[in-house]
Symmetry: C2
Subunit: 393 residues, 2 copies
């Protein structure tokens, strides 16, 4: 009756498929390959307890009081250091703390996008980024990907043709595609952004979860190297390497964007939970993060290898996939063109869920694709999941 | 150079005056009446420590993992009970947890306001609400207030004339005005909302900080009593009664608005810090909140009485004010029409800051007004602040 009162921008806003799937995934006996969540068994109980003790004993007043919209200064400094370790030179003042990457994207969309502005994303792309850009009433277009990530030549053809405001990309161990942008394409992408003057939104939640020794320089490092620092924004998070529940992420922004981002942060929620920020800061001070990351890498690599080899052995003739070099996701395509949204009903009745690929496209979805996460299931469950998928064919 | 890339909606977005003032207020020797922050000396150290212990020992996995966008179920149930105590009957399912009232307002604005829609606010009104509605590109208009809060007859003349989407109001111990909407006006306001079909956004951060035994029924209770539950949204927070730093607030929304609000919550930051939510839930379980509220009421009432009597004794002929019945703010007007924005420079040099009134108006500010908060200064500082104001005349 009164739904006509809703703002037009939210009328088409959908709940994410993952959200719906999480309901199924909690049914007894169902093995979930659907979530995008880290394995909670790997949370550093001891380290987080140490951090909590430090916060309560030495930061009590601060932890529960209002803070600055930019974020807790010492945490911004710690992130500056962490960024340097990733190859990004920036000032602590360039870092704005957010309540996770999702908020980073929402704030960036609000800072940059006028209704009708074009944002280019990968095919497939992170589903919740589509929600954010859709809420900002962007014209969302997509560029294909292959085993080396976004096909930058295809992007060039598009940007040379009509103006583009921003390109959104998860260049390293992407979600959902699992692919990583090659070094040559990274260089080309930042050159295009300089030549055609669009902003790159580099979303980097997964780069620490590297299964190899290969180093992937952030786009922001490449951009700065060619003097294109004004056209790149970098966002990352502690969600996949420490804790998603605390909701602590950050953006690194160029000077011209800083005031808008801080003002938006203030207008949207004043600041990120001081308690969460101090917990993160005190955790970093324990020096345990590198060990924690190494443990997560080992554990996820092991699960990936097990899962991939099971898939190849049991379903190698039915589906194909690019082998991820890191991250949390395996993106596959059914060789027979099976519609994975429809197939889900059958696999669910056999006790296994994944995310159908169609939700990761802004248009013209490939219905034969699917995203599987292998990080929360046990080894036995991963084997059993593959059997159940096979039995559902 | 590249600021032309900013979205048009953020180009006019200003940092709040409070933010700027907080810088001054930290200068050595300066007494701040400028902040809108609770007194951290009243934080319940022992209770929060108990809550933290409970979270770490019994909710460890949950506290650091992703959660539901609607909020932690047991906390939503606890808020349902707390709402019932305030006179609001609702289901736990009507409660959506947010990262503080500021986020509640932002989400509601995004859910309801199309660019150009009219939102009516009080004169004066909460400054950060003006930022939110301005970001939503609302047409913001205002209605005057007197000692009984918003002048609802003036509102009637306006809404009878042209359509209005929403009325934003802090009806109880308002910020900045310190006034409380009378019972008769509450009834009239919800009747108008029914007759002229606009949404009331009832912002209630302060009602527990009641200096009297008088009971002020929430607008939502009045609205439900006349079958107008579809035109009212209620938002509140733990910021003023427990801890602002954890950033935990909530909205109570009618059925037709629920999906949009939850989808927006998901799109903007997935969910509120699970750690903060569990801390709040475990704190509520200790049963200490009523005692904590009683202590805050006593302390703030004492400070208010001291400050008000000093003001009357020293500056009674220079400024006038309505006596607040609760809350954190005293709103005054200089009888000689002194411009308080300009005066601030002088009072600052004498070591006392307040917030000039002009920032709390959407247009045609009354430059002779000012907002003073008395809750963080010591008794001696309050007395000294009044002396310094007098010396600045």
């Amino acid at each position: 009756m009164t739904t006509q009162k809703l703002a037009s921008s939210v009328q088409g806003l959908q709940s994410s498929a993952i959200r719906e799937l999480l309901k199924h995934s909690k049914m007894p006996g169902v093995i979930s390959l659907g979530g995008g969540i880290p394995n909670p068994e790997l949370f550093d109980h001891e380290g987080l307890k140490m951090a909590a003790d430090a916060v309560l004993s030495t930061h009590f007043g601060e932890a529960f009081q209002y803070g600055l919209s930019e974020g807790y200064p010492a945490l911004r400094e710690a992130i500056q250091q962490l960024s340097a370790d990733r190859g990004i030179q920036c000032a602590a003042d360039d870092v704005v703390i957010t309540s996770g990457s999702q908020q980073s994207l929402d704030i960036l969309a609000r800072a940059l996008i006028n209704p009708g502005d074009t944002v280019i994303v990968e095919r497939p792309t992170y589903l919740a980024a589509l929600q954010v850009f859709s809420l900002a009433q962007a014209n969302i277009e997509s560029v294909g990907t292959d085993g080396e990530g976004m096909i930058v030549d295809e992007l060039e053809a598009r940007v040379a043709n009509k103006p583009v405001k921003a390109v959104y990309i998860v260049p390293t161990f992407g979600n959902p595609g699992g692919v990583t942008l090659s070094e040559a394409r990274r260089k080309k992408l930042v050159e295009l952004s300089k030549r055609y003057d669009f902003v790159i939104i580099e979303d980097d939640p997964y780069s620490e979860i590297n299964y190899t020794d290969e180093v992937f320089r952030p786009l922001m490092a490449h951009a700065k190297a060619i003097g294109n620092q004004d056209n790149i924004v970098y966002t990352s998070t502690f969600s996949k390497i420490l804790s998603p529940g605390t909701r602590v992420g950050w953006v690194i922004v160029p000077e011209w964007l800083k005031r808008a981002v801080v003002n938006l942060k203030q207008t949207t929620d004043l600041h990120t939970s001081t308690l969460s920020q101090l917990m993160t800061y005190e955790y970093l001070k324990t020096g345990r993060l590198p060990g924690q990351i190494a443990m997560i890498r080992d554990a996820y690599r092991h699960k990936y290898q097990l899962f991939a080899s099971e898939l190849e052995a049991e379903l190698g003739d039915v589906l194909s996939f690019h082998k991820p070099k890191g991250g949390m996701f395996l993106w596959a395509k059914m060789n027979n063109g099976l519609n994975t949204t429809r197939w889900l009903e059958k696999t669910l009745s056999n006790g296994v869920v994944y995310v159908p690929g169609e939700f990761f496209y802004c248009n013209d979805p490939d219905y034969a694709t699917l995203r599987m996460s292998f990080v929360t299931a046990t080894d036995d469950q991963l084997k059993e999941a593959v059997k159940r998928l096979k039995a559902s064919l």
